[in-house]
Amino acid sequence: MIKMRNVTKYYPNHSEPALAEINVDVEKGEFIFLVGPSGSGKTTFIRLLLREILPTTGEIYVAGIDVLHLRPWKVPYLRRNIGCVFQDFKLLPNKTAEENVAFALEVLGRSQHVIREQVPEILKLVGLESQGHKFPSELSGGEQQRISIARALVNHPPILLADEPTGNLDPATSLELMALFDRINKMGTTVLVATHNREMVDSMRKRVIALENGRIVRDQVRGVYGYED
């Protein structure tokens, strides 16, 4: 489902690579934790998969699509296969929570009928059924994060990328959402979660890819968060 070959990413004007010589294979239906200290390249990894940025060298395939050689006008079709929870949420400030979630469906051309049905459902799933009419600036940090999660999930994408999806959530809600991710994964979705949440990683025992200074230092089936040493 995801394949990276010798991917290196230098940001312009910066001499240190954010990612270096990354080789990763992810099968359809896997659940992966991406861990690593702050600044190790997790967000860069996700941005590459979304084609938000292009790698300096290397090849990337997502859902069978050659990301590098994708025509610009076809990029939206790639992204519609990927649900993404952004570290900084990336909610549209001029749309309400509901409208933000609905936008992911409107992009796909879903009918109003479907939208009116699915949006409240997913809001309920993340515990925000009563906050749908608020604008992002009127939501708490954790609520915004959950709206971002709801938007990523609402159109049942085959791939789910989540960048620090529980950074602003209390442990109980975090566990609930992880259980949700696990359920979705069991139904066939490939899930990749970048996180610092040791409790979560250790309790779920999924495949763990650990980054350090932009390099993969560990790729472990049924791994743990590590790093306490």
Binding site: R51, P72, R79, L108, S111
Partner: protein, 291 residues
């Protein structure tokens, strides 16, 4: 159904980004107001100038000895020329009457005139006054004609002045048009620039370029339309309160800030508003829609 969704999006966005919408609408309204008023005055002035130019005439003094038939034949011939609009015959008697009228304060002098020394003449008006020299040249040297007068110097000066007035008017219309276009595009660009994050977020959740562009385009056109309508209302108001008074105070001039012209102008402004609004948002978006 999809199209109605885009319209709904555009209207919601127009309302929620009220500060930016206001800025764009005001810019359109102000720019088109200035442009429209100036064009209105300039076009009226152009009419006036044309009517001045039409007053340029050629005076042809006839020899006293020319027989009446020949003079009549000449008149008919001149009328048949395509450049000529009208030919008026002024007889010797009429010429004398006019002279006496002019010097009526000086009876001594009038009494002193023996018989009628003044010649008969044609007064020729042209369709396009620019041809005055050509027609005059064609008349000179004919045997029935004593002298051809058309105030060469005055005519040349008049045309030099009208040419400059028209040139400056055109320069300003072009300049105002360019400035309006640029200012509106700048404002709409700035408004969209302030929302560039929104655009990039929409792209990241899989919206195609057209899906993003259409609401912005409709929004820009909406702003352009509302701005143009405001400008038209203000121009109408100025026309009624100001220009009509001016036309009255200059009733001796063939001046009219007419309703016809106003209607044509309004239509142009609305089209301009819509186009500039669409153009502005397209240009602004192009930068943020790359990849």
């Amino acid at each position: 159904m999809r199209i109605s969704w885009f319209f709904k999006e555009a209207i919601i966005s127009l309302k929620r980004n009220w500060v930016m919408s206001m800025a764009a609408i005001s810019t359109v309204a102000l720019s088109l107001l200035v442009l429209g008023l100036f064009a209105f005055v300039a076009l009226t002035l152009d009419d006036l100038i044309t009517s001045f130019e039409r007053q340029v005439e050629i005076e042809v003094f006839l020899k006293d000895e020319a027989p009446f038939q020949e003079v009549q034949a000449l008149q008919e011939k001149i009328i048949s020329w395509k450049e000529v609009k009208n030919v008026k015959y002024v007889s010797k008697e009429e010429a004398l009457r006019k002279f006496k009228e002019k010097y009526k304060d000086n009876p001594e002098m009038i009494e002193a005139i023996p018989g009628n020394p003044l010649p008969a003449s044609f007064q020729i008006s042209l369709k396009n006054p620019k041809n005055v020299v050509r027609v005059a040249k064609r008349l000179e040297g004919r045997k029935e004609i004593d002298e051809v007068k058309y105030g060469q110097q005055v005519v040349e000066k008049l045309f030099a002045v009208t040419k400059v007035v028209r040139m400056i008017g055109l320069l300003f219309i072009l300049l105002l048009g360019f400035a309006s276009l640029s200012l509106i595009v700048i404002t709409i660009r700035l408004a969209i620039f302030a929302r560039r994050n929104e655009v990039s977020i929409m792209r990241l959740v899989g919206a195609s370029n057209w899906f993003i562009r259409l609401p912005f385009l409709l929004e820009g056109m909406g702003q352009g339309l509302i701005g143009a309508i405001i400008a038209i209302i203000l121009i109408h108001f100025t026309r009624v309160t100001f220009f009509e008074k001016i036309a009255k105070s200059l009733s001796f001039l063939p001046i009219s800030f007419g309703f016809d012209l106003f209607l044509k102008l309004s239509a142009s402004l609305i089209v301009a508003g819509l186009c500039i609004g669409a153009l502005g948002s397209s240009i602004a978006l192009r930068r943020f829609l790359k990849v």
